[in-house]
């Protein structure tokens, strides 16, 4: 009996939705379990770090890592898994681009700790205690991982072979990737396993997009009743579709919500936010600077809008330290 390919799954800075998406394979997961040996999956099965350390280098056929890298523990684990795996796949927006946790890069480490442990309205911490990496009590020693100064996408820490995009990836994409792994029909290293064409291509509302948008003000999706058949940009709702890789089959649009960009840019674009920003800004129907500013101010959170999933991997990367 030939040995089955070994698969690992691991979770870094993320919400857990990616793990859910594996389970979303539903009955197909049985086929996967049949075809592979899962050698490491902390969220579902009882493996310890020591088990991984004991494996031979390169012995895991492929490891799917979701989540961004923020702590020393995550960094150690992904370096370890890199060593043990023949193929590393960044799974989901956070591993791929930095994801929602990456928005923390707008603030420096000190700002974050101060807010979370002192200033947040729900916190009561008069002593101003902060987590420390080591604590001794009655002769016992407890440790915590250290908190890095920035969030990084997986490929900013280790070499990544493939990317499966999405927040979370759709079961269809995961299935495609697993099939590719099993059959060995792998794309060139560094590929994002999804179509390399923007979402508009597969958008059911494509034909309703006018050539000229003439946006006078932007609307947030919760504040208007969007027409379910008309291009959302034409309704003044920021839709990241034109700057976002397709492959999700326009799931959000079908739910009458705009694309928020979770599949990241196409392979030809280095900075998704800058791209959609230049395109959207050019659609503003105003000539005078004051009017342009007034229109732009109807987007209350530009970074959270245009860089929702990709701040660490963008040209912006992170803000400079603001604390002394």
């Amino acid at each position: 009996m030939s040995e089955k390919p070994k698969i690992g799954l691991y979770w870094c800075a993320s919400c857990g939705g990616c793990e859910e998406s594996v389970v979303d394979l539903a009955e197909d997961i049985l086929g996967v379990v049949e075809a592979v040996d899962i050698v490491f999956w902390p969220v579902a099965m009882d493996f310890k770090r020591a088990d991984v350390e004991a494996m031979e280098d390169g012995s895991i056929t492929a490891t799917l890592i979701n989540g961004a890298v923020r702590t020393s523990e995550q960094e150690e684990m992904v370096r370890l898994l890199r060593r043990k795996s023949a193929v590393v796949i960044a799974y989901g927006s956070c591993a791929h681009l930095g994801g929602i946790p990456g928005l923390a890069n707008q603030f420096d480490r000190e700002q974050i700790l101060r807010y979370v442990y002192e200033e947040a309205p729900t916190v009561s911490n008069e002593a101003g205690t902060r987590p420390s990496t080591e604590h001794r009590f009655n002769g016992d020693r407890a440790t915590l991982p250290s908190f890095h100064h920035a969030v990084r996408a997986l490929d900013q820490v280790i070499d990544v072979d493939y990317y499966i995009p999405g927040c979370a990836p759709t079961p269809k994409l995961l299935k495609q990737a697993v099939e590719a792994l099993l059959t060995g029909a792998l794309p060139p290293k560094g590929s994002v396993i999804a179509p390399d064409i923007a979402l508009c291509e597969e958008c059911p509302r494509k034909d309703s997009k006018p050539e000229d948008l003439h946006i006078e003000r932007f609307h947030r999706p919760h504040a208007v009743m969007a027409d379910p058949d008309t291009c959302l940009l034409a309704q003044g709702i920021v839709c990241m579709g034109p700057a976002t890789r397709g492959g999700c089959e326009a799931l959000c649009i079908k739910g009458n919500m705009p694309c928020t960009g979770c599949f990241g840019p196409t392979s030809r674009v280095r900075d998704q936010g800058a791209k959609i920003l230049s395109s959207v800004a050019a659609s503003i129907d105003a000539e005078e600077e004051a009017d342009i500013i007034a229109t732009l101010e109807t987007i209350p959170d530009p970074i959270g809008t245009f860089y929702r999933y990709g701040l660490p991997g963008s040209f912006l990367r992170k803000s400079l330290s603001q604390s002394s």
Binding site: K206, P242, R245, T266, S267, V269, K275, S278, S279
Partner: protein, 667 residues
């Protein structure tokens, strides 16, 4: 580099006499460039653009098997073509050349030798890295249609059309009025020579009609323009004239026979100073000599009830045809000359001059008609009450040089005001006062003309008119006469306020863009200057070209100018158009943008951004499509394409990133 083989770069730094070498240590830069990866030859040379400099390139290409060239010298605007040609002559693709601007961006703006030498090295490194990624490119050729369109049949359009027709080109001349001739046909005498406008204009008008190479469409307007240099498709609307141009012999009997025994409607040609019938001809020498029927006032066309005496008198010729419908003609032309002219400033916009309020306040154009022998008064200058004016004032700069109206100098008003002063004095013997801000008389024979008129006894008052009001008179004495108006101005030469009562006031209104110049601008995809006149490509070196290839400008649509300048410019526009058409083909620079068809998602973001309307949405494929012939390589769409699916030759991402890396990699 993908399939580019071994890269062998030649680096050259030009001394440009002392322009560059006076600041930069060129030998040090050349020495440094020689150490960069791929650079096999590195030299400094006195004048790279000279013949020996270009020979050096060619020899090195052969001797050292160079396949990339970097020249550090002046702006690419000046010599990019020179070095590309030299490289081509040496046997390599001309687009393997990259220039580094160390003169305009360097020694002309920095004098710190050490700093500038370092900057030259940085730029050299960026270019040497960049050329690695250069791909061979080819210029494409687009055939040029041999016909030309001239829009506007004033003196500019007439002259341009005749020039090109004489050169054997087929010209379409489109004029929206019923006759060609434009404003010049309305003028009486022309400054500074005082020759009669009609005498010099009408022969040219009849020559247009008689010319076998000119298709003249009056009472017609351009509706739509598509295409690009050498290949414009233009739709012209031929408005319904109701008189068949092919059948009419110009006997004018229909005008005579019209049920209206007398003119009843404002005569446009005489600026409302006389009345015309619904069937009319603007003036006796109109070309074509074919009447036009004003549909809004013709009883047959507006009410459907008329004895149709005009049809009756026309008889078997059957030239009058109320069934005529507007006709749309589509023509294909290689070039377009825009000669759409100006409109005079509307004097009612300045209420304190009293135009429209006092019957004895006239515009200059109205005076042109009054002094003209074929005008409404047969050339007699009289007031509306029939009297001959004894005192006349002429106000210069009406609407011009005024921040509330038009900021520009209309350029012709000083001289035509002097001309009108002369003519009024000659015809009436009146005392004439000219109020001017500055007397502007540049140009051949203009100062002499000014001297002549000033010695004829015209009072030249240097001062801006502040107010015009009715003279207070004892009503019993007026005898139904029109009262005088008082002109109040500060005479800045004597430093006193003057109040001069006159019988007649003439307002020298300035020139401004046509009311629909914005529509024309859009239709032909050209730009406007601040005031709204069409923008030339370069104010000095390309004064009749526009930023849209194949569209040329003639006459006052580009800015105020007199007849001699208009004719000169029309000739220039005609010769530029001829030069283009006679080439037969147009070479396209290959630095154009292109759509990656597979990758384009059809989001249409790029389409409204193109300043040259070069991008269209291909409905069948649902993808963007760039017309190479229209693309100017500005890169706007490339930068904005949200999915990175538009790229640009010579400005590929890889080339730009390499250049940036080169710049930032401090050695």
């Amino acid at each position: 580099m993908k399939g580019n083989g071994e890269i062998r770069i030649g680096f050259y730094i030009c001394h440009c006499g002392s322009n560059i070498a006076g600041v930069i240590d060129v030998e040090r830069v050349a020495e440094y460039a020689g150490t960069l990866p791929g650079v096999v030859v590195s030299r400094d040379y006195k004048y790279m653009c000279s013949d020996p400099g270009q020979d050096l390139l060619r020899q090195d290409i052969a001797e050292h098997r160079l396949n990339r060239i970097v020249v550090a010298s002046c702006s690419p605007l000046l010599h990019e073509q020179t070095f590309r040609r030299a490289a081509e002559a040496g046997g390599i693709n001309p687009y393997f050349v990259q220039m580094v601007n160390i003169r305009e961006h360097g020694t002309w703006v920095h004098d710190d030798a050490e700093y500038m030498t370092g900057k030259a090295m940085d730029l050299a490194r960026a270019a040497a890295l960049r050329v690695y990624a250069h791909q061979p490119l080819e210029r494409k050729q687009v055939p040029i249609k041999p016909d030309v369109l001239v829009v506007g049949g004033g003196i500019a359009g007439i002259h341009a059309a005749l020039t090109m027709a004489d050169a054997g080109k087929h010209v379409y001349l489109v004029e929206r009025e019923p006759t060609i001739g434009g404003h010049m046909a309305q003028f009486d005498k022309t400054f500074p020579t005082l020759d009669c406008a009609a005498c010099i204009l009408t022969p040219k008008m009849t020559a247009v009609r008689a010319h076998p190479n000119i298709t003249l469409w009056t009472w017609s307007e351009v509706e739509k323009v598509d295409g690009f240099i050498g290949n414009y498709t233009v739709t012209v609307k031929r408005k319904a004239r109701y008189v068949d141009e092919d059948l009419c012999v110009g006997c004018m009997e229909c005008i005579e026979a019209c049920v209206y025994k007398r003119g009843k409607f404002d005569d446009e040609f005489n600026v409302g100073l006389s009345k015309r019938k619904p069937v009319y001809i603007p003036f006796p020498q109109a070309v074509p000599p074919v009447p036009v029927i004003d549909a809004g006032n013709c009883l047959h066309l507006s009410k459907g009830k008329c004895k149709d005496t005009c049809v009756e008198i026309c008889g078997d010729r059957k030239a009058i045809n109320f069934e005529i419908e507007p006709e749309y003609q589509e023509i294909e032309v290689g070039a377009v000359v825009l000669a759409t002219g100006f409109q005079p400033f509307d004097a009612t916009r300045i209420p304190y001059y009293g135009y429209g309020k006092y019957p004895n306040v006239y515009t200059a154009l109205e005076l042109e008609r009054l002094v003209n022998a074929s005008g409404p008064t047969g050339g007699t200058v009289r007031l509306p009450d029939g009297r001959t004016p004894e005192r006349v004032a002429i106000v210069h700069c009406v609407g011009s040089r005024d921040e509330h109206y038009n900021r520009w100098c209309s350029r012709v008003c000083c001289m035509y005001s002097l001309k009108l002063a002369h003519l009024v004095k000659e015809k009436t013997g009146a005392e004439v006062f000219n109020f001017y801000i500055d007397m502007r008389a540049p140009g051949k024979s203009m100062e002499e003309f000014y001297n002549r008129v000033s010695t004829e006894g015209v009072h030249l008052v240097r001062g801006r008119v502040a107010d015009v009001y009715a003279e207070q008179t004892d009503e019993k004495k007026t005898n139904g006469q029109i009262g005088r108006v008082v002109i109040q101005a500060e005479d800045t030469l004597i430093g006193r306020i003057r109040k001069i009562p006159v019988d007649m006031l003439i307002l020298s209104t300035g020139l401004q863009p046509q009311h629909d110049s914005e529509d024309i601008r859009r239709m032909f995809n050209i730009s406007c200057s601040a005031g709204g006149f069409f923008l030339e490509r370069h104010p000095k070196l390309a004064p009749v070209n526009t930023f849209t290839d194949g569209i040329f400008l003639a006459g006052t649509c580009q800015g105020p100018k007199d007849i001699p300048d208009t004719v000169a410019q029309a000739g220039a526009a005609a010769s530029e158009a001829l030069a283009l058409i006679d080439r037969g083909v147009f070479e396209l620079e290959p630095n154009t943008a292109y759509v990656l068809e597979e990758e384009c998602s059809g989001c249409k973001s790029c389409i409204p951004l193109c300043p040259y309307t070069a991008i269209a949405f291909e409905e069948e494929k649902k993808k963007a499509e760039i017309n190479e012939a229209l693309c100017k390589g500005c890169g706007t769409c490339v930068a904005s394409c949200p999915s990175g699916s538009i790229r640009q030759h010579l400005f590929e991402d890889e080339e730009i990133y390499r250049e940036i890396h080169g710049l930032l990699a401090y050695a």
